[in-house]
Symmetry: C2
Subunit: 328 residues, 2 copies
């Protein structure tokens, strides 16, 4: 299986390293970072590629655009892991369309395109008879999409509840465990690299809301958008609120929830019993699926990380290889 890898940040590097390390039957034939591209139909030597990137900051040469690369290169699947653009989804939406139009499968960890144009992209993939998979967009290493598709096939999904943002969960865990204020916990999260310089996207629940939209649309196909999500962040939470919850054997977590029967699509801090399966510590993610037959199934795992996210992408690639006919 030949792949074109667009994006060589943390996730792209994780994918490249795992493809080089493991005997997965995957060959990388095209790579693009933000300023250069590299192409070899016989397979790019990944160690050389990563060494060049590390030394020069570039994986290859200028002069060929990513779109040209995607039109010319020899690959079976596009792995789109470039930085997400939550406002327009571009240029990734364009990259994905270019590949789908060439009847190439697409695997992505890129939330913007799937949140903003998921319906259109899924329809295009179906029309072209190829796969569009995006396990890595929601809850990192946790294979929730695979579970919905297979293990829980036959179940009606009644509701989902999840902790989909590790930064917020880290901050809330520290506030609860150590009695820190929000500002103290945020500072700590920044020092550890869990929070960005501008934490708005995480702490105001935007990141969790995007993931909720992706998940809800995948399950119910109801065309929800980010604007449909009722959203409250954690930035106004006080240490007192957490202390009060603790006194009742509870704690506070930022919960993303979708409950169609109640018309709920919401991200907000919720008080939950400390022994509830969803209450996970630190940067972990967790997700409960409420179903008609299996009842509640909870999944816990790493929501981010280079190799962890690569796990989800490789799971999608291997699924495509094993379940779709080989194309020329």
């Amino acid at each position: 299986m030949k792949i074109a890898l667009i994006g060589l940040g943390s996730v792209g590097r994780g994918v490249a390293e795992m493809v080089a390390k493991k005997d997965l039957g995957i060959t990388i034939t095209a790579v693009a970072d933000s300023t250069s591209v590299c192409m070899d139909a016989d397979g790019i030597d990944i160690h050389t590629l990563l060494a060049r990137k590390k030394k020069s900051g570039r994986c290859g040469d200028e002069g060929v655009s990513v779109t040209e690369l995607l039109k010319k290169a020899d690959y079976d699947a596009l792995v789109e892991v470039s930085p997400t653009n939550a406002l327009t989804g571009e240029p990734s939406i364009g990259y994905i369309k270019t590949a789908l139009n060439r009847k190439k499968h697409v695997v992505t960890s890129n939330k913007g395109p799937i949140c903003l144009a998921g319906k259109e992209l899924r329809a295009l993939a179906q029309k072209k008879g190829v796969a569009l998979r995006y396990e890595a967009t929601v809850a990192g290493a946790i294979p929730v999409m695979h579970l919905l598709e297979h293990g829980l096939a036959g179940n009606e999904i009644l509701a989902i509840y999840g902790i989909l943002n590790g930064t917020c969960n880290y901050i809330l865990t520290r506030m609860a465990d150590e009695g820190l204020t929000y500002d103290q916990a945020l500072l700590e999260a920044r020092e550890l690299g869990y929070a960005e310089a501008d934490p708005t996207y995480d702490v105001q629940g935007i990141d969790a809301a995007i993931k909720l939209v992706i998940l809800a649309n995948t399950i119910w196909g109801n065309g929800a958008t980010l604007d449909d999500v009722e959203r409250t962040g954690i930035d106004l939470l006080t240490a007192d609120a957490l202390r009060l919850a603790e006194e009742d054997g509870c704690t506070i977590r930022l919960i993303a929830e979708a409950i169609p029967r109640k018309h709920i699509l919401r991200v907000s801090p919720r008080i939950i019993p400390k022994n509830h399966p969803l209450v996970v510590e630190g940067t972990l993610n967790a997700l409960t699926l409420e179903t008609d037959m299996a009842k509640e199934i909870t999944l816990i795992g790493r929501g981010a990380g280079s190799v962890e996210t690569a796990s989800a992408i490789i799971g999608d690639l291997l699924y495509i290889r094993n379940h779709y006919d080989k194309r020329a």
Copy 2:
């Protein structure tokens, strides 16, 4: 998809009821309980069948053996959910072989045959080009087999740790929460129908060990047997031991664990921190998979129940229908 359903206890009834209730494209063409059989190539009316079973204790007529039924009836997949025999696996092993030899797929919740003859049965299924699936044998409604097969494909599984017996988990939860003695908690579990009159199979860890063997052999294919499992039950645990664990912010759970690199295959009461994802309450099951890329993934859900187990069986049936060519 036509199925032959062998066994009409709690799980068999759950499967029949869900097939009748949901539009899954599944038709039941043959049914056997412990004393009778029923067959109709055009599809058995499930409501009539279950009413007859309730009234007379029998689903159909005598005179035809289950083996004859499996040789004569028209079906694509055998659903084997008869009572498990942990000592010999019979007569279920024979039923499964009969179906596989006729090139029929097999789905089972029956632990005995898979624990005792899994390798042989998997080889026979492969030789005949049909599926043998047994998601329901381990951790009830939790789709762990599907996850190993798909979502985590590409990962090396380094270790598994799990709570695979709801009866023991209920007893330990009650001992910890209410300070009950083992005998008090067992009595309560019996009154609630969570423990059998003879609880040996559960409380001595045999049930958990059987599931561990099934899981370990599925992952690593190393031909482990029940005798290879180092096993300690919960029947000698004192309320004092639990109290001491609680004082350290920990609790005790019956953990089934397989760690090949340490040559560990063990079921035993273990002290674990109360905030560990594996610490679930009541009759829940939980399972942590330690992998090289995704790191730890924990799954929590119902380990038993009529409809919950039917969920796993139906997941297997739909997987077969969608991934195997239709046979005549």
